[in-house]
Symmetry: C2
Subunit: 383 residues, 2 copies
């Protein structure tokens, strides 16, 4: 169960006096992010379709030689609409349908780039340790039904789609990967990014299904800016964020599936730290709800077998290079977060803070290379 | 001016209903840290000497083969007691005196390792861009008056002292460094750690005074655990934290001097992220108060010349590898934060989350080496 708060920000809004609220929000969220006016039609549609809709705006200083580079990103978090024991094809279709009705609203809000949650076409079933039917949700990244569906969405709604799926790699022995497919607004599959760090923690037994990605840290130059995808567990690895940034990413999406008991205190920290440390925007997306599986499983914690992984706490948010962030989406409801950002802010903050200039990457390349050797001797000083 | 809140946590305590407060604190600070009972004598002395005293406790699970490895660390944040135009020797003496009266209370609280704020024997005068009298505050790390003072403190109070000073390196042409001297409880100078990343941001014109440290990432094996010191601006560089951790640090101190306008929204994020990412404890220390300098200076922001850098917002805290943290010390008052930690928690969290195992350091060593080459080609995919 998700606890009694819908969101931390909502709780503060309800109880703090106005003067203290403003200062508390500044300490909690950074310099205030401005509200983005959303069309009434979108707000009504969101209400009717039963999902939360938030709009926020990150601004940058005007420059002489560059126009503002405004882009609107959309982050979608959602429950699975059908039970996990419904037929696979029906579950996928229901998820396609649910996402489509949210994407339609995203288009009304002028969204240019949209990202769905990790493995969005399926329940997050790796906790069961069972192979069937879950591996049946895997699809070709290049021409599977979900990629074709996303190509349709991209063209119809004129937006870039980031579609994180369980990938079946037919060209390499049918291996599975945890991947994100990036589709341009013209419907072209630009490529894919693979999850670089695989958890072996709690019920996240994912290395039974797929291993660490072999694609490095690709950045996709879309018509709306340079984007990258750091999938789920990669957010715990600062080097993963860094390499996407060193390859030029201005927006890094972090589609995730993570649960309250395990990670909720880390969630507001890690993607936001990455935005600060790398002078870029980061978009953290987590699913919502509790998914019940047909067969009981144990969790390596001495407790009885059970049918669920825990509750996914949503709380998707966008963080900016200047350290500010949006409030989180709900901890319990489906939602669409629309954030307009002026990408000029990335270089402006970079020029102000200079972490790339002061980063000393050559020194760290050598230090990490030494660490990776079997005969590494830690630099320890004893009395 | 520091704004109207003494601390974010205090504000929530005052206004939230009990049930929501507990959940809000869990979302904000992680799993609750337990209060550490402090001797009444210490509480009275702190009140009399006009500084805040907090005590907290981080626990770990019992193990079969290792006893709990309890250590109490003390973090001191303080204003400068004298005006910046008082004679140099008097300013240093007044700071020694102030620190001594806080350390005496730390001993009563059973502190084993204590760390002072960055460049603790002086005002943070680098904003002035003037050399005299500020460089006169520099001292030998090995046998300067402040190191001798700290050796006395260490022996008298039986604790390890981490003493961040402006260092005069006579053996290398009288070069200045921003360093931290580590002194064992027997009064022996174990060694020093130098600031690895130097800011060129806002009024932090420190590269006019000293450059990047040349000592790598030393870890000091004290009788109370393996400690390291990541000085100030190094907290913005995740690789800096990482290398201290790869060298075995269980506690990383981050003595800092940073101001509200520039960094307050980043402050709760960075050291805590480092504790999570590196399975270690981190201790973030910032000074308090506003320091007025004799001559006006400008800040490269188009605004008129002025006499101060801004307000140092204190808010020192300790973060744990499991993502929880203590509340911050006051944003405005001198303070001593005492945190008892069972260092066994570091390996327990490491075994649970495995970031070192899943870190793929060889891949990143190669990627960073490639980035550091002049002919680096970013991995960018275009339509």
């Amino acid at each position: 169960m998700a606890g009694r708060l819908d969101s931390l920000e909502g709780c503060l809004e309800r109880h703090l006096p106005a003067a203290e609220l403003a200062e508390a929000k500044r300490l909690l969220l950074g310099e205030p992010v401005r509200p983005l006016d959303l069309p009434r039609e979108a707000l009504l549609a969101a209400e009717e379709r039963d999902f939360e809709l938030q709009g926020h705006k990150f601004e940058a200083a005007p420059e002489q030689l560059r126009q503002p580079r405004l882009v609107r990103v959309g982050l979608i978090q959602n429950k699975i609409p059908l039970a996990t024991d419904a037929p696979v094809a029906e579950q996928v279709t229901a998820l396609h349908r649910r996402i489509q009705e949210i994407v339609e609203v995203a288009e009304i809000c002028g969204v240019n780039v949209i990202c769905f949650q990790e493995a969005w076409t399926m329940p997050f079933a790796f906790c069961t340790q069972e192979k069937l039917p879950w591996t049946e949700f895997a699809e070709s990244a290049e021409d599977g039904p979900t990629t074709r569906f996303c190509q349709m969405l991209a063209k119809k709604h004129n937006l870039v789609v980031v579609s994180p799926i369980l990938e079946r790699d037919a060209a390499h022995g049918g291996t599975l990967w945890n991947s994100a497919v990036v589709i341009s607004s013209s419907g072209c599959v630009l490529g894919k990014s693979r999850k670089n760090h695989i958890p072996r923690v709690g019920d996240f037994n994912e290395s039974r299904y797929y291993l660490e990605g072999d694609r490095g840290h690709p950045v996709f130059e879309t018509q709306f800016g340079r984007i990258a995808v750091n999938i789920c567990f990669g957010r715990h690895h600062p080097l993963n964020w860094l390499m996407y940034s060193l390859n030029g990413a201005e927006i890094i999406f972090n589609p995730s599936a993570t649960i309250g008991k395990l990670s909720e205190s880390m969630w507001p920290i890690e993607a936001r730290n990455a935005a600060i440390a790398n002078h870029c925007f980061t978009c953290a997306i987590n699913r919502v709800g509790t998914e019940l599986f047909p067969h009981p499983f144990t969790s390596g914690d001495g407790k009885p077998a059970h049918h669920d992984l825990g509750y996914f706490y949503g709380s998707s948010y966008v963080a900016s290079p200047n350290g500010s962030r949006t409030p989180g989406l709900s901890r319990t409801r489906d939602g669409l977060l629309v954030a307009e950002m002026d990408l000029n802010l990335c270089r402006q903050v970079n020029d102000e803070w200079n972490f790339k200039m002061t980063g000393r990457y050559k020194m760290y390349a050598e230090a990490l290379a030494a660490f990776a050797q079997p005969n590494f001797v830690p630099n320890v000083i004893r009395e």
